[in-house]
Amino acid sequence: MRGLTEVLEAARAEGRAALVGYLPAGYPSVTGAVDAMLAMVRGGVDVVEVGLPYSDPLMDGPTIQRAVEVALEHGTTTDDVFTTVRDVAGSGAPTLVMSYWNPVERYGVRRFSEALVAAGGAGVITPDLTPDEAGTAPSDWLGATDATGLDRVFLVAPSSTEDRLRFTAEHCRGFVYAASTMGVTGTRSAVGDSAETLVRRVRAVTDKPVCVGLGVSDGNQAAQVASFADGVIVGSAFVRALLDATSPEAGVRAVEQLAGELADGVRRGRS
């Protein structure tokens, strides 16, 4: 299995951005989510982000909130997330976990890291943990990820100062997650200029790959973002495809089709 860095480099060598797809574990069911994530990979997603369902997702808009609420009502556990990672990583696509901080700390920071490595996971994205709080017990995330070799992805935002961009990028491993706009997850009709400006500002302080998330929902937007970023992250649009589907099978088909459209988009971005 190739690592996250290799996959991002391979995409770069092909002259395109990588496609990163997000879905939460446990929606519509644990196995149903795995089916949908494997469909994303078949459709052309290079990297999978498995969301760990959390009761208070304050970076998420209504679409992801709804799916996550259902996943929690069905009793999805942290161990189910690791099972999901194992089944998805088996496809060969580098698989990351996206998790709010409390479930990680509650599981045990070291124990969580080791369980994720055992499941074949590549790393973790932490939307509400910045490097400021990541270096001391009981949240010694830097120590745990260094010890296990996991990639760790922090976010930068249009509001981040120059100092914070540098500080955050320094602590990222794998890639830097650039939030395209000030806001929460959700599809948007247009990706604004702020994403491109932010990517330019990040590149001025680091050589690490920069992937852009928040708001990308179709092939044209993917192409637009792919023209300046190393990776395009799509979440709510995949979740929407599942929520709108009339059956789990139809959902899986819709996800695969959307992945195909987005994969075309990231290949059109630089042409």
Binding site: S55, L72, T130, D132, A157, S160, A179
Partner: protein
Amino acid sequence: MSAPVRRSPDSGGHFGPYGGRFVPEALMAALDELAAAYEKARLDDAFQTELTGLLTTYAGRPSPITDARRFAEHAGGARVLLKREDLNHTGSHKINNVLGQALLARDMGKTRVIAETGAGQHGVATATAAALLGLECVVYMGEEDTRRQALNVARMRLLGAEVVPVDAGSRTLKDAINEAMRDWVTSVERTHYILGTVTGPHPFPDMVRDFQRIIGDEARQQVLDLTGRLPDAVVACVGGGSNAMGIFTAFLDDTDVRLFGFEAGGEGVDSGRHAARMSGGSPGVLHGTRTYVLQDEMGQTLPSHSVSAGLDYPGVGPQHAWLHDTGRATYAPITDTEAMDAFALLCRTEGIIPAIESAHALSGAAKVGLDLGPDAIVLVNLSGRGDKDVDTAAKWFAVISDEDIVESAVAVVEESPQDASGQGW
């Protein structure tokens, strides 16, 4: 006492292992800006003079202390002194913090303020300050709370605020905070989030405590003037913990003064339906801070329960977590029934209708008085008045049929007039 109590957090806002900042990066710049603006205002004579002026000529400070002699007969004969935050403009201690933050918002050039509210007292205070300073105001309130505190929804709309009922999750204070945070991430450039209690990311726990410490600063001197000595115990209810930190802070160095915080015990800690974070929760991260949280073994927040909307919250301010661990303050639960009994007792013995939140402190004070005996002086923070709770209490005690009172309040809420832009006025 086991360990020294760090009163001022380090530069990252930590109290021992608690506090800090666990927020999306998008908010970090705003929090840094706020911390800097607050640090400047704290030392700025013009700011402090303006705030003190509003607190005296607008909010009605200083609030008096009242010797509750007839109530005291039910508290082991101890002398019970009530710090009358219920007499403040808008009816609770919440106005102290809101006036400070609203001035700060204006000074930072923000034209819009948002707030979360549970009981509605913080929302009313925020709507009030926004009207006073000409700021746009949006208040997020759990749908469940808009129903049980309908009177306050009407007050906020009368004051010109937009009230947004939140129907996500448990539909109470926790979810209102999530929604306010989501708004803030999106609108931070022109919006200040007036958080209503001593929790959330740094600098909120620090700043809100400082704006509320006037309660204890006044009360300490008032008790000395009245009795010639310090109280033996200081008692407050603890939701997020702002009225408690407000009255505790002046006494932290008086190591002979015992501090008691009473949380909502709901239907009993064993029932699982409560908001007793210290006895029924564990350390975790919620709403940007590390503190005691009601959570399951996976780290999912558990729903809280209380007859009192203002105490119905699964987290608590990080400084309380630290005061608990170090033993400087003692925290205990008061059940719904105990609180309502104390509510009735204060009504009948003193002619004061307390907020149900504050009734938790009164019930606790009676226990502390019984424990300490007739020579003791017990200072109680009467954090708010009970007008907003009249329909809940009327139903609880069956003094009136369900519909009579409630319907008139609900009618005001539902039929609030619209202005040209379609917002409630």
